[in-house]
């Protein structure tokens, strides 16, 4: 079981630190699936959570600006809600300076990427981001009802 996993009667929490290696986000998704199964949450209820978690991890690892980036991830899941906390230790950025991507613009642009933040915001029920010189923290809530 991953580092720091705790089981309580109505909630399960998992904490894990992920290094930047290919597809490391799948380790987190495996944990997410197992927590959901433990709580009896049907697979179809966590489909969007999978995408949110995937985007949060790849975004943090790609944009932290660290030489050897890692991301600290914490899930707390109940039968009703998933809380996700993601933290990197990079150079930070100004969230307000990131424009929402537009498919019309992307079609004509060489850069087709840049969807991660928008997807996390759009698919979550609550999204908070704090970023500064010591890194970026993202807190997401996703209802599982």
């Amino acid at each position: 079981m991953p580092e720091g996993t705790t089981l309580m009667s109505d909630a399960v929490t998992m904490k894990i630190t992920l290094p930047k290696i290919p597809d490391i986000e799948l380790v987190a998704l495996e944990g997410l699936d197992r927590l959901a199964r433990h709580l009896g949450i049907p697979d179809e209820k966590i489909g969007e959570a999978r995408i949110i978690v995937t985007e949060a991890i790849i975004n943090a690892l790609e944009h932290s600006g660290e030489k050897n980036p890692s991301v600290r991830l914490e899930f707390t899941m109940t039968t009703k809600e998933l809380s996700v906390f993601v933290r990197d230790y990079g150079k930070g950025f100004t969230p307000g300076s990131v424009e929402d991507p537009d498919i019309k613009v992307k079609l004509d642009s060489k850069n087709k990427r840049g969807w991660g933040l928008n997807l996390m915001k759009s698919m979550s029920d609550d999204f908070r981001i704090e970023s500064g010189k010591s890194g970026t923290k993202i807190t997401i809530k996703k209802l599982l009802l």
């Binding site: 597809d23 986000e25 799948l26 998704l29 495996e30 179809e44 489909g47 969007e48 999978r50 995408i51 995937t54 985007e55 790849i58 991507p101 537009d102 498919i103 019309k104 992307k106 079609l107 004509d108 087709k112 990427r113 969807w115 991660g116 928008n118 997807l119 759009s122 698919m123």
Partner: protein
């Protein structure tokens, strides 16, 4: 754990059908784009991408599909997605891909939609 990415492709009536399996990440997206390009250069303009066996995708992988849509638009072609997991469908919808690409339940429905679109008007 989600399976590693793989794809198969077939051509039916000059329509390319790409079926993926496993995680569509940057490597998967690039592989889809490469398979598309190989057929596009031979004149194929109608593409079906069946994502039914890929319940985990990421936005980097999906960004390669925007490139496919761009090339098809310029050439008067069309892309149709099928067998979408509801979460993946929502993701593509948020990205705006269905403004430029179709979606159908099955590959058969997608092929039929090409036939319908190709029928002469009244």
């Amino acid at each position: 754990m989600e399976q590693p990415f793989s794809l198969t492709s077939e051509v039916r009536e000059n329509r390319l059908i790409i079926t993926t399996s496993g995680y569509v990440n940057n490597v998967g997206g690039e592989a889809i784009a490469a398979e598309f390009a190989r057929h596009f250069e031979q004149g194929t303009r109608h593409i079906v991408i069946n994502l039914g066996q890929s319940r985990v995708v990421n936005s980097v992988g999906m960004s390669f599909l925007i490139e496919i849509i761009e090339r098809l638009q310029d050439a008067g072609g069309k892309l149709v997605f099928t067998d979408l997991d509801p979460a993946v469908e929502k993701m593509l919808s948020i990205m705006g891909l269905f403004q430029y690409a179709g979606k159908e339940k099955t590959v058969g429905d997608a092929l039929l939609s090409f036939h319908e679109a190709g029928k002469p008007g009244p």
